[in-house]
């Protein structure tokens, strides 16, 4: 019979409708899958009791190996054994700095690099999907049913292309992605920080080959990533290498063959792990040459040979704090992630830096997957509504239309919700008493290329000269993704607002298309914006000059009037054309022609204001 798990009160699922959901930590070096069983987040092991699945995929002519089997092929079949595929996700060949030093046959494809293997050309998405498939099978065997979905974690700094690639890989593996979650956020969730008090937290993630530091801010149950920093080429492997070099130096070895290098490397790693629990580690090995190595490494020596590595983690940490505009005292808690944070020297350095004990009672290798599982359990509907936690970002920027059909972005894409942003706008014409507010969504510069969400009007603006009114427009997106826009004239307090649901009806494909369009049309958009801006500016100038001519025609000198009129006509003509440079030129010409007229107007108005007043009165 089926094996049952304990549900939350009133949350029992109907038979055969268990909402099985998992969290997946798709890591650079290792991947894990976790779930919530009877209210407890646990990592799921494979048949051999191993929780970590090495993120290594080996393609054979007649099949694929993933994990431990593939790891062993790394040395014998490097071209077809792909390690750290995460570094290639959503990346083009030019983005991969050390491609020349890798054993793979890269194929430069537009969008994302591909790798030619014995089983054909494979994209990073397909390779990642192989890892995800294994995790999915493990999960379904462990949970006894099909998954409704998964939360997959990604580094906080992943851009849209990398996130999309991760989603695509999941889809290819037959996994429904409930949500992508930032790795540091997942770690914080695993520690239950989301249920606690608000504040700033640091997540210190030192893995096998990468180091990431993230500064998170928790407010109203939502984590916002304030800043990230790190070193993509710093990790536990570097500590192993330092020990390896120390062994060579102490034993006076050089010119080793591959086999001996690997032997000593694995001894170095083992010694590092021993030093986590003990004061000393014995290193004894017999090389293929018959030479023997017999050394003892103590924590003191280890600390001194790795001192520079430890300080290499603190520099980005300092930077991340500075970017977030925070000081060490403002950090309420520090979460440790990644197996390398087990090293006492790291624990000590981090504790000293932040002047507090870091959180480390959860397994640092598993903490991200556990957090993802907790989030997946909530999203799959296994917890009651009031436990709902939402960590989401805005897929496309939100903004409004300004003069000339241009878009002014107010809330930028990828902002975490809930979010509120305000910006001040002003009137374009003298005596303007109403303003039409057009809310749009998209990355393009012109309103016509974006998606229109809503239009509303703000009336009752007191008549003022153009540019004097201050209209504050506030965009607010609540935790459910609901957008409300409010416009308020600051001097009178008149206001008007509208509520829309921005992501409604937009599929992932549409969002991707809109993003792609914004990339391919980047240059056109820039020119179009420049033209529109010049046109708006030109129109504004003509209006101002005409108003001045009407008011102070008597200040004109002979011939000046015709000259100005001719320049106005020229500017009108240029505005009709589509070269922004011509508009700017005509605009400058008109400005130039009216310069002395404007100076005389200024003098006249100053005279008028000063006439009949005593110096003493002015001084007051």
């Amino acid at each position: 019979m089926a094996l049952l798990q304990i549900a939350e009160p009133g949350m029992s699922a109907a038979p055969h409708q268990h909402r099985l959901a998992v969290g997946i930590d798709l890591g650079t070096t290792n991947s894990l899958v976790a779930t919530v069983r009877s209210a407890l987040a646990v990592v799921l092991n494979d048949e051999n009791g191993r929780s970590l699945l090495p993120s290594v995929v080996r393609y054979r002519a007649d099949g694929v190996d993933v994990g431990c089997h593939a790891v062993h092929a790394q040395a014998t079949d490097p071209q077809n054994t792909i390690v750290s595929v995460k570094r290639f996700m959503g990346r083009g060949l030019p983005d991969i700095a050390d491609a020349a030093h890798m054993p793979y046959h890269f194929v430069d494809e537009p969008g994302m690099v591909q790798i030619s293997t014995v089983a054909g050309v494979k994209s990073p998405v397909e390779i990642s999907a192989e890892i995800l498939k294994v995790l999915r099978q493990r999960a379904e065997k462990s949970l006894g049913g099909e998954l409704v979905g998964a939360v997959i974690t990604v580094p906080a700094y992943f851009d849209d292309a990398q996130r999309q690639a991760t989603k695509d890989a999941a889809r290819l593996a037959g996994i429904n992605v409930l949500r992508l979650l930032n790795e540091p956020t997942a770690a914080a969730v695993a520690y239950g920080l989301d249920n606690g008090s608000e504040g700033v937290f640091a997540v210190f993630d030192l893995g096998g080959g990468t180091f990431d530091i993230s500064i998170l801010k928790l407010s109203r149950g939502v984590f916002e990533v304030l800043s990230t920093n790190g070193d993509s080429a710093l990790g536990g492997d570097d500590f192993d290498h330092r020990i390896y070099c120390w062994i060579l130096e102490q034993a006076g070895l050089s010119g080793l063959n591959h086999k001996d290098v690997r032997l000593l490397q694995s001894h170095a790693r083992a010694a590092k792990e021993v030093l986590t629990e003990h004061e000393e580690a014995a290193i004894t090995a017999v090389l293929s040459t018959g030479e023997t190595v017999d050394l003892t490494l103590n924590t003191e020596v280890f600390a001194s040979i790795t001192k520079s590595l430890v300080s290499k983690t603190l520099a980005p940490t300092r930077k991340a704090l500075r970017d977030a505009g925070l000081t060490v005292e403002e950090v309420k808690g520090v979460v440790m992630v990644g197996g390398s944070t087990r090293m006492p020297i790291i624990q000590h350095a981090v504790g000293e830096f932040f002047a507090q004990e870091p959180l480390n009672n959860l397994d640092p290798d598993k903490v991200v997957a556990l957090g993802a599982a907790i989030q997946a359990n909530v999203l799959a509907g296994n917890r009651s509504e009031d436990d709902w936690l939402l960590l989401d970002v805005i897929p496309l920027s939100l903004g409004l239309e300004t003069m000339g059909g241009l878009v002014e972005k107010v809330v930028m894409r990828n902002s975490t919700i809930p979010v509120a942003r305000a910006q001040e706008f002003t009137t374009y014409k003298d005596g303007q008493t109403a303003m039409s507010i057009h809310v749009v969504q998209g990355e393009r510069e012109l309103v016509s290329d974006c998606r229109s969400l809503a239009k509303f009007e703000l009336r009752g603006i007191p008549p003022m000269v153009a540019g004097a009114a201050r209209i504050r427009v506030t965009f607010q997106v609540d935790a459910d993704g609901l957008l409300s826009v409010m416009a308020r004239e600051q001097s009178t307090g008149v206001e008007s607002s509208v509520t829309v649901k921005p992501s409604y009806g937009l599929s992932d494909e549409q969002i991707t298309q809109m993003l792609q369009a914004s990339h391919t049309h980047a240059k056109d958009d820039m020119l179009a914006r420049a033209l529109q801006e010049a046109r708006v500016e030109g129109g504004r100038l003509i209006e101002a000059v005409e108003a001045a001519l009407e008011e102070d025609a008597h200040l004109l000198k002979e011939g000046e009037s015709d000259k100005i009129a001719a320049r106005i006509d020229a500017l009108h003509e240029a505005i009709k054309g589509d070269d922004h440079r011509l508009v700017t030129q005509a605009l400058e010409a008109l400005n130039h022609a009216t310069e002395s007229f404007a100076a005389r107007r200024m003098d006249a108005s100053v005279n008028k204001a000063l006439t009949g007043q005593k110096l003493e009165e002015l001084e007051n």
Binding site: I6, A7, R37, S142
Partner: protein, 107 residues
């Protein structure tokens, strides 16, 4: 009669309760649904209801509402492992036939 738990099951329940941080015990029940008529429910209990029957098994409180008892009387709850999967299992003497997976049953 009543409801009992194996030592293994009780150990897991009390572990889950501790980790969860709240709850007075375990609530078992049946409800009508599923392919063979009745289905088991197994939930954490945060409070004891007025018409709840209580059984104590290896130090863990098991609650069951009076209406569900006839269907479950004499049941022993077990915790087992099948391959990678693990979880609770009802050994219910009242069951006449169950659906293939055993998740729903008939008395």
């Amino acid at each position: 009669m009543g409801i009992t738990m194996t030592e293994q099951a009780a150990k897991h329940v009390s572990n889950f309760l501790t980790k969860r941080g709240k709850g007075v015990g375990l609530r078992l029940g049946v409800r009508t649904s599923g392919c063979s008529g009745m289905a088991y429910t197994i939930e954490f209990a945060d409070e004891i209801g007025a018409d709840d029957l209580q059984f104590d098994s290896h130090g863990v409180k098991v609650l069951i509402d009076a209406k569900s008892l006839p269907y479950l009387d004499g049941t022993e709850l077990d915790y087992t492992r099948e391959g990678l999967n693990e979880g609770f299992k009802f050994n219910n003497p009242n069951v006449k036939n169950a659906c293939g997976c055993g998740e729903s049953f008939n008395v």
